[in-house]
């Protein structure tokens, strides 16, 4: 029960007034950006990085993690009342949630989403508290070859499981890896893809790419879609106190959603989206009256909303214990650790134990704050949805350019931002998922470092990757993830062409 003692120390850290304030700032900001379509947690944390550089890392991470949790709470409100997801983790919530709002049960939908998020967030944080140390024990066995293989597996899963097709996912990953190559090579000092421009020697900052893809690309895309401009915000109707029937129909989906969401968060599959789709599917299968789905079934809100919050807790397990980001937001958080010269993994738990456990403890507190912020105060937040789109995106772009400029007071970074933004727009327009690019950008240089370290240790013998059993196993999983879906698709196509 050593982690119990550590967690208690964590509460001592998290309950100091200054850290409570950071937690409150994080969850409030998270709810805000969760509700606003067009701004997500990855973008917000990226924009906050230059500003938080001088902050105490514990406070900064408490704020970031609270923000990530808060975004999942807030986004359900937008899905339910606007029929547009605030974040990708709430896409599926819009299906039943908006129908409930149309039928005058919007308040009940908001309530089951908020309470479900609370249940899942708390259970998820509990699992995180006790699983993270287990993962750390696993991480101690990892050498450079294993780390490289783990990253290859993450590349494979992220690029095959997200997006419309595998080719698009892999292309997105490659674009991210290419961005990551630019700059001075760490080991030899060799300039790469610098094209004689001195500012390029620093490489392309993570913030520039994240903001370019998420903010500039998204703004260009939304402007290009005239049909997405005007959306109707439904008023909250009904009582925020759920009826006995609504409670009894909600609690099982909450728990099932949690059990689906958490493990999916820990896997490198892009975070919160996939478990919400699975949860919806499961609830529909198990429902006593499946025909109600599509017309406002409360289970279809309760399950996915629990799943996305549990997934966020799950995402933090490999991030803290292995330094492996499994979602775009986690990738940005990893960049934040780099900014403070902190290396997630076993050392983080021993050298910065108070940061890790303070962060985890703050999530329990943040969840309580979020329940209060999102349930009784839901009516206040809804007013944010009245911000006209032109002003919203005008503001997003002003803050984006401001954040990128203040990275190093360089206009050249704004030029890069513009170019990355155009790439982001094309990716959005032609349906390439963005998350693999962000993960490739951040993990690419790390994978390269581990790859070269492993080969240096083995004196250039590439067989290290297949003779270490753990490394081999991870590489086999990576290969299967790429091969199996194509094989299944091929067999299915043949079966369709030639029905037995």
């Amino acid at each position: 029960m050593e982690s119990f003692g550590a967690l208690m120390d964590g509460f001592a850290t998290a309950l100091t007034p200054i850290n409570l304030m950071w937690s409150l700032v994080g969850v409030t900001l998270g709810t805000l950006i969760g509700i606003l379509p067009g701004i997500g947690p990855a973008l917000t944390i990226a924009l906050l990085l230059p500003v938080t550089r001088t902050l105490d890392p514990t406070g900064a991470f408490i704020m970031f993690a609270g923000l990530y949790y808060g975004a999942m709470y807030g986004s359900s409100t937008t899905s339910i009342l606007l029929n547009t997801p605030g974040e990708s983790g709430s896409i599926i919530t819009a299906l039943e949630g908006n129908q409930m709002a149309r039928r005058g049960r919007g308040a009940a939908a908001l309530a089951t989403a908020a309470i479900g998020s609370f249940v899942a967030g708390t259970v998820g944080t509990l699992l995180l508290s006790f699983l993270a140390p287990v993962f750390v024990k696993l991480a101690i066995m990892f050498g450079p070859a294993e780390y490289f293989a783990l990253m290859v597996m993450a590349f494979a899963t992220v690029s095959t499981l997200l997006g419309a097709s595998m080719v698009r996912g892999i292309t997105s990953l490659m674009i991210g890896l290419a961005f990551g190559l630019a700059g001075t090579d760490i080991l030899t000092g060799q300039p790469r893809l610098v094209f004689g421009i001195p500012s390029m020697l620093r490489g392309i900052d993570t913030v520039v790419v994240a903001v370019g893809l998420f903010a500039v690309g998204e703004a260009l895309y939304m402007a290009s879609r005239r049909d997405l401009r005007e959306a109707v915000v439904l008023p909250i109707r009904g009582s925020l106190f759920m009826t006995r029937e609504e409670w009894s129909r909600s609690w099982k989906p909450w728990l099932r959603g949690t059990l689906l969401g958490f493990p999916f968060g820990t896997l490198p599959a892009g975070g919160t989206e996939i478990p919400t789709f699975l949860s919806y599917y499961v609830e529909k299968k198990l429902a006593r009256n499946p025909r109600e789905f599509g017309q406002g079934a409360i289970e279809g809100v309760a399950g996915p909303e629990a799943a996305n919050n549990a997934a966020v807790a799950g995402v933090l397990v490999p991030l803290l214990a292995l330094g492996l980001p499994t979602s775009a937001t986690a990738a940005i958080l990893l960049a934040a650790f780099e900014q403070y010269n902190l290396q997630p993994g076993p050392q983080l738990f021993t050298a910065s134990g108070s940061l890790v456990w303070g962060l985890i403890a703050s999530l329990y507190i943040g969840n309580v704050m979020l329940l209060i912020l999102n349930l009784p105060l839901a009516g206040l937040w809804v007013r944010l949805l009245a911000i006209p789109q032109p002003l919203l995106y005008g503001g997003i772009l002003v803050f984006s350019t401001l954040g990128v400029y203040s990275l190093s007071n360089s206009v050249f970074d704004l030029v890069l931002l513009f170019l990355v933004g155009v790439v982001g727009f094309l990716m959005r327009r032609y349906d390439f998922p963005v998350a693999p690019a962000i993960i490739g950008l951040i993990l690419g240089p790390m994978a390269e470092a581990q790859f070269r370290r492993a080969l240096t240790i083995s004196q250039g013998d590439p067989s290290v990757f297949v003779t270490h059993p753990l490394s081999l196993a991870l590489l086999v999983v990576a290969a299967l993830v790429v091969v199996v879906p194509s094989a299944v698709a091929w067999i299915r196509a043949r079966a369709e062409a030639d029905p037995v």
Binding site: T171, T188, A223, P390, Y393, L397, Y405
Partner: protein, 156 residues
């Protein structure tokens, strides 16, 4: 996804563009002067891998576009709005230093609002002015960051 089942010109261009980028990365790696110590696991290996990956994906997309299997959701694209925002960003890049943060931010904000269909210039301008001034003061006075003062030097 409702896709048009035609040859996709966009897909073809994207595929060829990716192959071109792959060629640039490969040629950059080829022109590196690498000390012989690092010849085996030096700074070239990863660029070559990424270049191959990009070339293969580019070829796959070009092939899909040609063989009518690159599905693109049929949608109206308002290229004018995209061009206006792009112009706003280019203006911002060129005006930030000479005019300063506040005017450059106001121009960017109003351009974006215009591209999103707003024609209420007075309202947009007022919001832009307040937003730009408040952020300028917050960043320079509270957070101690440097932003170009430009024409407002000495005034604020």
């Amino acid at each position: 996804m409702s896709g048009s089942r035609g040859r996709s010109l966009a897909g073809l261009l994207i595929g060829l563009g990716l192959i071109a980028v792959a060629a640039v990365i490969a040629s950059d790696a080829m022109h590196m002067r690498v000390p012989p110590v690092h010849a085996k696991v030096g700074p070239r290996v990863f660029p070559y891998l990424v270049s191959c990956g990009l070339a293969v994906s580019g070829a796959a997309i070009a092939w899909q576009a040609w063989s009518r299997s690159f599905l693109v959701e049929a949608q109206d694209t308002d290229w004018g709005a995209v061009a206006i925002i792009a112009a706003g960003l280019v203006l911002q890049i060129n005006l930030l230093k000479p005019l300063g943060f506040v005017p450059a931010a106001i121009i960017l904000f109003m351009t974006v609002a215009f591209a999103f269909g707003s024609r209420r210039l007075l309202r947009d301008g007022a919001v832009a002015l307040i937003l730009a001034v408040v952020t300028y003061l917050a960043f320079t006075r509270l957070l101690g960051l440097q932003l170009p003062a430009g024409i407002l030097k000495g005034v604020m």
